[in-house]
């Protein structure tokens, strides 16, 4: 604190007091009024005013410049993101175009009509009777901290539905005669993957949120019975009994399943003729 006290106490330059003391000792008047003294004072004030004015002018001149530079940067960032948005939009348009062309080409060359291959590969939306199976985590699974599937604290909560559980359920449905299956509105194809990332279950790399609604098109009651008697159905039953996983199965008179979001063409041959090659 002594430093601050010192600064406070000696706020006035000590030189003034000393000069006054000297003057008194010499017996001169308190404030000298010679021309030289006044010139000195004027010079000092000129300097002081000059420095302050230059500082003020400088600060004022550089302020708009800084703002201008900033505005220029902001403009460039905006331009860049607008450009990126436009490109993204173009990518989307082109992707949709490619998809529709693919779909058309597949329809033209893949036999047409609702062939078994089309239904199984998820190329066309399907509707019909089937089975609705809802699987959800156990009531107490991971409910301690939030409800999201990512906020779990490790392997302790056994009531959580795992990706392997869903895999068994879906495989069991296929085995029981399902012709088309979707999970939470995502159509499964012959190449769909059910995987896990952390605690979230991914279908074709898209995360799902519980409860998991599995819709399967097939011979309603027969499929339901077949599934519940199969090994996978019993597995699900065991999950329900042992770990409190909530499941419900019901036959539905009319189900609508969308087409798979995109079909990937793995083998293709260019046409012999020039048809459709230029666009």
């Amino acid at each position: 604190m002594s430093l601050l006290t010192n600064v406070m106490d000696h706020s006035l330059d000590d030189g003034y007091a000393e000069a006054a003391e000297r003057r008194r000792a010499e017996g001169r008047s308190r404030v000298p009024r010679t021309v030289r003294a006044r010139l000195w004072l004027g010079l000092g004030l000129i300097l002081a005013a000059l420095v302050v004015t230059v500082g003020a002018v400088h600060a004022r001149e550089s302020a708009p410049e800084v703002a201008k530079e900033r505005g220029e940067l902001v403009r460039r960032v905006d331009d860049g993101s607008a450009h990126a948005d436009a490109l993204e939009h173009r990518v989307d348009v082109l992707r949709a175009d490619v998809q529709s062309r693919q779909r058309r080409a597949l329809q033209r060359h893949g036999g047409g009509g609702e062939s078994v291959a089309e239904v199984l590969s998820g190329a066309v939306p399907v509707h019909g009777r089937g089975v609705k199976l809802v699987v959800d985590d156990a009531k107490n699974a991971g409910s301690s901290g939030g409800s999201g599937p990512r906020q779990s604290d490790g392997f302790s909560d056994t009531g959580r539905v795992r990706d392997s559980d869903l895999q068994r359920v879906v495989n069991g449905l296929w085995a029981s005669g399902a012709e088309a299956v979707s999970i939470n509105g995502q159509r499964l194809t012959g190449l769909s993957a059910i995987r896990a990332a952390g605690d979230a279950i991914l279908v074709d790399n898209k995360p799902l949120v519980p409860p998991y609604t599995v819709l399967a098109i097939g011979p309603g009651g027969k499929m339901s019975t077949a599934f519940q008697n199969s090994a996978d159905g019993r597995y699900l039953h065991a999950l329900q009994k042992e770990f409190g996983v909530r499941t419900s199965i019901s036959t539905q008179a009319a189900l609508r399943l969308p087409a798979a979001p995109s079909l990937i063409v793995r083998t293709a041959r260019p046409l012999k003729t020039g048809e459709g090659s230029t666009s």
Partner: protein, 110 residues
């Protein structure tokens, strides 16, 4: 009279001539301004105290500006320029503040 004239001449010169501040001394300009303000307020207070001395004023002004700039320059070379300029501003700011308070006491008697 000469004092007021000096002030006006200084301001006008600063506005008209628009001296280009070299980029080398640019970082020290704010410090110089604060030092100049400190000297001016000190002089004003001394005048009101009746112990004003023109020589002390001019010398203290010049040395304040030079020493403040020098300290900051040295700090820049040592890599602690920002901290040292903060220190200079704090010390000069406290002085300006207490001098302004003394001037206020003189003028308003309160």
């Amino acid at each position: 009279m000469i004092a007021v004239l000096g002030l006006i001449v200084g301001v006008v010169a600063g506005l008209v001539v628009r001296p280009v501040v070299p980029t080398v001394v640019e970082p020290y300009l704010p410090i110089a301004v604060v030092a100049a303000l400190d000297a001016v307020f000190g002089g004003l207070r001394a005048m009101l105290d009746g112990i004003f001395d023109d020589k002390v004023f001019v010398v203290s002004f010049l040395s304040n500006v030079v020493v403040a700039a020098l300290i900051v320059f040295l700090g820049d070379k040592l890599g602690v320029g920002a901290q040292l300029s903060t220190g200079v501003v704090v010390v000069l700011g406290i002085r300006i503040f207490s001098n302004a308070a003394a001037i206020r006491r003189h003028v308003f008697r309160a």
